[in-house]
Amino acid sequence: MLGSGLIKGLAVTAKNLAGSFHDPARFVTTEYPEVKTRLPENYRNFPFLVSENADDPMGTLRCVACQICEKECPPQCIYIEKSKDKKPDAAGKMQLYPAVFDIDISVCMSCQICVEVCPFDAIKMDQVFEIATPDRFQPLLLDRHQLAKPNGYFHEIHPTEAAEVDARLAAERKAAEEKARAAAAAKAAAPSAPATGTAAAPKPAPAPTPGPAAPGGGSAGTPKPPPAT
């Protein structure tokens, strides 16, 4: 019958129309911005810098200004200037820190290559997208104060990834401490060996220990790992 295709089509349209009143599979819009959809955990949009401690964001940045992310960024939207002095990092090692860390988010394409190449887990992807500004130049250049967010925030937005990163960093720190303790024990055991050859004893205490006694606490014994979050 001529027109049977049209009538079948109209039946489909009617099914969708009627279904949209009671079937969520047929009515798929949400009334944004009153109702917000839940984003998947892996969603990424613009990077941020992770600081260990929310009370001292600039002082506890994981970033050591190695500039690897700056070099690997395809549109070159990151601008870093190293500091002149060094500060102890979470493991107590003296590291440089970024005096200037700017990301131009009008250029950034959220490709997350900077996250992939960072050896220190210092830069991670954020999920912000409601950041429109009326001025298209200055407010879209984020400096390190605006980029730094605490590790707790990282746990909120990417819980699985943050847990994995924390576990890995803690394991690395523990391994470094074990090595330091073993080296200190070996050094302490060395003078007790008979001083026959020149090999063992008169080694001028090289202090290869990564300065775990150094950090501002001034504690004489083995340092405790800094509190998480």
Binding site: Q76, Y79, D102, D104, V107, P134, D135, R136, F137, Q138, L141
Partner: protein, 223 residues
Amino acid sequence: METPEQIRDRLLARFPGAGVAVVANPSPAAQHSLALDAAHAREIAAWLRDDAELRLDYCSNVTGVDRPDREVVETITTAVPDPAGGPARAAEQKIKRTQPGCLEVVYHLYSMARRHGPVIIRLRTGNRTDQVALPSLTPVWRSCEFQEREVFDLFGVVFEGHPDLRRILMWDGFTGHPMRKDYVEPDDYEWEPTPHDKILAKAKKHYPTEPAAPGGAAEGAQP
């Protein structure tokens, strides 16, 4: 499918005066190509398309490559006789010469009838300045039409025999060939708030005075 060497031998048997050479490809892909001379290129292409064994009826990709002039340093060793009658000394002399570059067009050919490929052929121009003409292979494979226009537009190779050779991606009044290695873009500067490195060097010519900070005074940005 035949190897490039076998194809070359058959081509030289069929077109005795033609310049056909195998260009080896050192990468693991091992996709060796055949360099053809411009004079015989179109008849060789038609033969490749119609030959019963090869039947290369599908030209998949036409690429332009810019091979710029290169500075080559050659060392010449001469023997200088010793005036006192002893053994001759070896004296070295370094000569710098410029190896002229060329523009190259690479065609990737496949066969839909025989389902094999790729056979890669390359054509080279005489130099990069005045001898930039090559025969167009559009009469042989229609798929070269837009792709050769693109090579003309972006590299400057003039394809003789092309039905409609004009710019395709750049606008009609554009001058220059952007994909060449020595292309310098025009200095039409647009205010950049966050320049650094190379862009800052370019932008400094346009800043009226030394800027206070990157992005400085946002005088142009007031709503």
